[in-house]
C-alpha cells in the first residue's frame, strides 16, 4: 500500500501553483504557495481553521473571482496553462475543474434536474443524452440504486449523505477533469462519510481530486499526497504516508499529533 502511494510520484502534474499569493482587501490570505497536484491522485489539504486551505482550493477554479476585493499574484496552472490568463474564461475553466462544497447544496428541484442542470447549460438538450448522463453520473457517484425510483422527486428530500453524493454526481455530469472538495464530509454522519470516502477512492482512477479536510484520519485514509497549511503558508507537502508518519517539519508533526489546531 505504501509502495503504491509512492508510485504516484511519477504522475504528471494535472495542476500546479507557483508562488501563489492571494490578498483579500489588504489581508494576505495565501503566502507564496507552490504545490503540485498529480493527475489521478487524491491530494488532501489539512490545517487549522483559517489557515487558507479553502481559499487555496477556491483559487483552483477561480471561485474567489466571485468575491469582491480579492487579488492574486503568482501562477495557477492546469495542464501547464495558466488559468488566470486574460484569455481564460472562468466559466469554461469551471467546467473542467468542478467543486463540491462543505454543506450539501442541491438545488431546490428534482434529483434529475439537479444532475441535468450542468449538461443543459452547456448545451445538451436531447432527452436520451440527458437520461444517459443522469444515470451514468448517479452510478459513478454510487447513488443510482438509492434514487432510481424517485428521480423526479425533490432532491431536498434526500439525506445529507445522499445529497452530498448527489452534488458529486452533479459535478461528474459536466465531465470535469479535476474535482475540488471543500470539507465534503463535515456535515455527514460516520456511515455517510465512509461511503463518501469509498467514492473518492473509486473516482480517482478517472479524475484528479483535491480535498480539504479538518479530519486528519480522513486525509490519511483517502489521499495520496498531503499538503499542510498554516497561517496562509504551505508548510509541508509530501506523500501522505510520510506526512503522517515522518514529517520533516516540526510544526507539521505538532499539528498531526494534536498539539495545536
Amino acid at each position: 500500500m505504501n509502495m503504491l502511494k509512492g508510485d504516484y510520484m511519477g504522475n504528471k502534474n494535472k495542476m500546479e501553483t507557483r508562488n501563489l499569493n492571494l490578498y483579500y482587501k489588504g489581508f494576505q490570505a495565501l503566502i507564496n504557495v507552490s504545490l503540485p497536484i498529480k493527475e489521478n491522485t487524491v491530494t488532501a489539504l489539512i490545517g487549522p481553521s483559517g489557515c487558507g486551505k479553502s481559499t487555496f482550493l477556491r483559487t483552483l477554479n477561480r471561485m474567489n473571482d466571485v468575491i469582491d476585493g480579492t487579488r492574486i499574484e503568482g501562477e495557477v496552472l492546469l495542464d501547464e496553462g495558466s488559468i488566470y490568463d486574460a484569455g481564460v474564461d472562468p466559466v469554461v475553466l469551471r467546467k473542467k475543474v468542478g467543486m463540491v462544497f462543505q454543506r450539501p447544496n442541491p438545488f431546490p428541484m428534482s434529483i434529475y434536474d439537479n444532475i441535468a442542470y450542468g449538461p443543459r447549460i452547456h448545451g445538451r438538450k436531447k432527452k436520451d443524452d440527458l437520461n444517459e448522463i443522469v444515470e451514468n453520473s448517479l452510478r459513478a457517484a454510487a447513488l443510482w440504486d438509492e434514487v432510481k425510483d424517485r428521480l423526479h422527486k425533490s432532491a431536498l428530500g434526500l439525506s445529507g449523505g445522499q445529497q452530498q453524493r448527489l452534488v458529486i454526481a452533479r459535478v461528474l455530469a459536466v465531465d470535469p477533469q479535476v474535482i475540488l472538495m471543500d470539507e465534503p464530509a463535515s456535515a455527514l454522519d460516520p456511515i455517510s462519510t465512509a461511503k463518501l470516502e469509498d467514492l473518492i477512492h473509486q473516482l480517482k482512477s478517472n479524475y484528479t481530486i483535491v480535498i480539504v479536510t479538518h479530519n486528519m484520519q480522513q486525509a490519511a485514509r483517502v489521499s495520496d499526497f498531503t499538503g499542510f497549511f498554516l497561517n496562509g503558508e504551505m508548510i509541508e507537502y509530501d506523500v501522505t504516508n510520510i506526512i503522517f508518519t515522518a514529517p520533516r517539519i516540526k510544526r507539521t508533526e505538532d499539528y498531526i499529533t494534536g498539539r495545536f489546531g
Partner: protein, 299 residues
C-alpha cells in the same frame, strides 16, 4: 417562589398576545359583517347577477339603476395594467439590486425606493395629473389624457417600491450556496440568476407581485384623480374608466345613510372585497403548491 412568579408572568404575556391577535381577527370579522349588513340590501333590490353584470349605474334616476360592471371592468383593467408594468419592472430592478449592483449602490437604492413607498397617494395622483397626463396626451395624441392607461401607469409607479423591496428580500434570501454551486458547474452569472436564483425565490416573488397588485386594486385617491372616471365600459386601455374604489369615494358624500344608493356603494365594497379575497386565495393556493418543494428542505 421565583419560578411561580415567572410562571404567571409567562402566562400573562401569553394571554396578552392572544388577546391582541384575537382582537385583530375580531375587527376583521366586524368589518366583514358591517360591509355585508350595509350592502346586502342593494343585492336584494337589484339581484346579485344584475348588480354584477348590469351596465348602467344611475343611482339617482327614477327608477335607479345599479349595474356595477363598468366599474368592475375598470378596476380589473387598471389593476392588471399596473401589474403588467410594475411586476416585471419591479422584479427586474430587484434582480439588478440583488445580483448585479455593488453593495453600496444597493444599500442607497433600496433606502430610496423604500422611501417612495411612504409618499402619500394623493401626491402620486397630483403628479400623475399635472406631469404624466399631459406627456401621455401629447405622446399618444389622445383626446383626453385621463385614461385607464394613465391610471395604470400611476398605480404601477406606486406599486413599484413594494414589488422591488419584497422581491429584493426574496432574492437576497436565496442561499449563497445555490449560486456558488451553479457557478462552479460552469454556469454564467446570468444563467445562475435565471435558472437558479429566480426559481428559488419564486414564492417570495409571487408575494411581492400580489402585494403590489393589492396596493393597486385598493388604491383610491390617485385613481380618482387620473382615471377620467367615465361610467362606461372601456373599449381600449386609452378610454377613461371609473374604478370601484373611485366610485365609492366620489359618491359616498351624496348618499343618505341607509338609503338604497348608500347600500349599493356598500355592495360595491363587497364586490371589491370578494375580488381581493379571490386573488389572495389563488395566490395562497399557488404558494402552498410551490413551497412544497421548499418544505422538503427542513426534513
Amino acid at each position: 417562589m421565583k419560578t411561580r412568579l415567572s410562571y404567571y408572568y409567562e402566562k400573562g404575556i401569553k394571554y396578552l398576545l392572544g388577546l391582541i391577535a384575537g382582537t385583530s381577527i375580531l375587527i376583521l370579522f366586524l368589518i366583514f359583517f358591517l360591509l355585508f349588513r350595509e350592502g346586502i340590501g342593494a343585492f336584494h333590490y337589484v339581484g346579485v347577477l344584475d348588480f354584477i353584470f348590469g351596465t348602467k349605474w344611475l343611482p339617482v334616476s327614477e327608477p335607479p339603476y345599479f349595474g356595477a360592471l363598468p366599474m368592475i371592468i375598470g378596476s380589473i383593467i387598471v389593476t392588471l395594467g399596473a401589474g403588467i408594468i410594475a411586476i416585471p419592472a419591479g422584479i427586474g430592478i430587484a434582480v439588478f439590486l440583488a445580483e448585479v449592483a455593488p453593495r453600496s449602490v444597493r444599500e442607497i437604492a433600496k433606502a430610496v425606493i423604500e422611501l417612495l413607498a411612504g409618499i402619500p397617494s394623493v401626491v402620486y395622483g397630483f403628479l400623475g395629473l399635472t406631469v404624466l397626463a399631459p406627456i401621455i396626451k401629447d405622446l399618444l395624441n389622445l383626446p383626453s389624457a385621463l385614461t385607464a392607461f394613465t391610471a395604470a401607469l400611476v398605480l404601477a409607479i406606486m406599486a413599484l417600491p413594494t414589488v422591488v423591496s419584497i422581491s429584493e428580500d426574496a432574492l437576497d434570501a436565496v442561499p449563497r450556496e445555490y449560486r456558488e454551486a451553479s457557478l462552479a458547474l460552469g454556469a454564467t452569472r446570468w444563467e445562475t440568476t435565471v435558472k437558479i436564483v429566480l426559481p428559488s425565490a419564486r414564492s417570495g416573488l409571487m408575494a411581492a407581485s400580489m402585494l403590489g397588485l393589492g396596493r393597486a386594486i385598493g388604491e383610491t385617491m390617485a385613481v380618482l384623480m387620473v382615471a377620467g372616471n367615465a361610467m362606461i365600459i372601456p373599449h381600449s386601455i386609452f378610454d377613461p374608466v371609473r374604478t370601484i374604489t373611485a366610485n365609492i369615494a366620489a359618491e359616498m358624500g351624496e348618499t343618505v345613510q341607509g338609503g338604497l344608493h348608500y347600500q349599493a356603494l356598500f355592495g360595491l365594497g363587497i364586490v371589491l372585497f370578494t375580488i381581493t379575497f379571490v386573488i389572495n386565495l389563488i395566490t395562497d393556493l399557488i404558494f402552498t403548491k410551490t413551497s412544497s418543494v421548499k418544505r422538503g428542505a427542513s426534513l
